[in-house]
Every structure is written in C-alpha cells, then in structure tokens.
Symmetry: C2
C-alpha cells in the first residue's frame, strides 16, 4: 500500500519529466514517519540531515514547492511565522484545532460544510474548489492544567 503511494507520486513526477531522486524520496519518508505532525521546512531539514547530512536546505524548499504543485502535500499557515505541510494523500478532508495556549494542533474530520458551501455557491456565484477551516481555542489538556492550578 505504501509502495503504491510512492509509485503514484513517481508517476506524477514523471508526467512532468521530473525524477524521484534519493533526496525527494527521503523527504517523502520523513512525511510518512511524521504523519501526525505538521512539519516546517526547517524541521524537515533537521530530520533529514540525520539520515543524510549532505542535503541542502534549498533542496528541501524546492522539493516542498514541487510536491505542493503536484498536490501531494499542502501548505498551512498556523500563524507561527513559517509554512507547515501535510500530506494531502487520500485522507479525508479535515479541520484544524489550534490551541492558543500550547500551540498544539489537532485534527477533526470534515463535517457539516456541504450545506454552507452549496448556499455560498448559489448566493455568490463562486465556484468552490477547496476550503480551509481553523478553530482557535484551548485544548482539553490545557484546560485541565488551568483547572488544577
């Protein structure tokens, strides 16, 4: 299954005459191993150097740009001053819960947005292709922290 994904990506690349180089594969590996996190370019760079110290930060940025173009990953801004990425893959659409206290990011499965989208398309004549929903607040753990203080 994992190999299928890799093969898919390789085909997407090939369709544009791009190659699946060891560096690119390593970056994809990092993503697969950290699918629960939202890594920044710098963080990916640090992780990747543990596997291959000779990789350049510019390569990381270039690869991220490429993968985003191919819609393999997508960039999200959590307001901490750098872009963060996540696999788009075949995953179900989801929202993000951002804790204002500890910065932790949780994910919630998509729900209840179809009706809203439909009404917007009708009222505004705007054809929606994607959306991004973020909720800010205090996560359960931080609420408990406060409660016991």
């Amino acid at each position: 299954m994992r190999n299928k994904r890799l093969k898919d990506i390789k085909e997407k690349l090939a369709a544009r005459d791009y190659r699946l180089t060891p560096q690119r594969e390593l970056i994809l590996e990092i993503f697969a191993e950290n699918s629960d996190r939202h890594l920044s370019a710098e963080e990916i760079y640090d992780l990747i150097r543990q596997k291959n110290p000779d990789i350049g930060l510019a390569t990381v940025y270039r690869t991220l740009e490429l993968l985003e173009d191919l819609k393999v990953i997508q960039s999200i801004n959590f307001g901490d001053g750098c872009a963060r990425y996540e696999f788009t893959g075949d995953r179900h659409h989801h929202h993000h819960l951002i804790c204002l206290e500890c910065g932790e990011v949780e994910e919630v499965d998509e729900d209840l947005l179809e009706k809203l989208e439909q009404s917007i398309e009708e009222k505004h004549g705007f054809r929606i292709t994607d959306h991004q929903v973020k909720f800010y607040g205090i996560c359960r753990r931080c609420q408990e922290k406060f409660a016991t203080t």
Copy 2:
C-alpha cells in the same frame, strides 16, 4: 457614529496608557477608507505616505501590532506572503472567498457554524474561542471571463 468608534479606540488605548497619536489616527483613517479591502503593512505604508510622507514603515508595523493586541483589527493570511488586516469592529463574523484566478477576496456572512463548533467542543473537549474559514475557488467574474473565451 464614526467618531464613537474612534473614541472607543482611544479609550482602549488609554486603558493601557497608550496614546492616539496622529500617525495612529492616520492608519485608522486608512482602514476606514478601505474597509472593502484587506491591506498589507506595505500597502498601508504606501497609502499613508500620500497623507504624510514622513511616516516610517516600522511605525506602521508597530501600530498594526498594537491594534491587533487591542482587537481593533485582525490579521489574516491569504497565502500571498504577507499578513493582511481588517477591522474587527462591530462587524458580523464572516468567511472569506479567495479567487484562485484573480486573487480577489470576497466576504460572506457567518452561517451554519454553530452546530459544527458545538459538536467539536463535545467530542474533543476543545474550548473554541475563535475560528477562521476560507473558501478557495473561482469567483463569478473569472468564471464569466472563461465562459466567453
């Protein structure tokens, strides 16, 4: 009415021992005159210099930070590499429609999110204090442009 808003802001500032200087007032004026747009720091800087050429970019940034702190304005990231701002004012909460073709940003009145928020609070124990919803797609005008081509 407008004056009331200004007076409110002045009070908010005073509550923290800050002053409503001519520069700050000018920036608020720019916001009022461009309430249909989402200006970036640089754009505000350019507009403001037409009124007073001696103002510094750093002052703009510092004022924006201050006004955001006071919740007079709020920052939004539309993915174009810089922060953009809008009055929070007494306006109704709203979503943003971002056209991937021309970059134009439209606003939609808030709707239908209460149920979703409630279910998230219950399932995740996450206390939501704010949210941000963006829809990406093609605006009416761009669709028409394509249709006639």
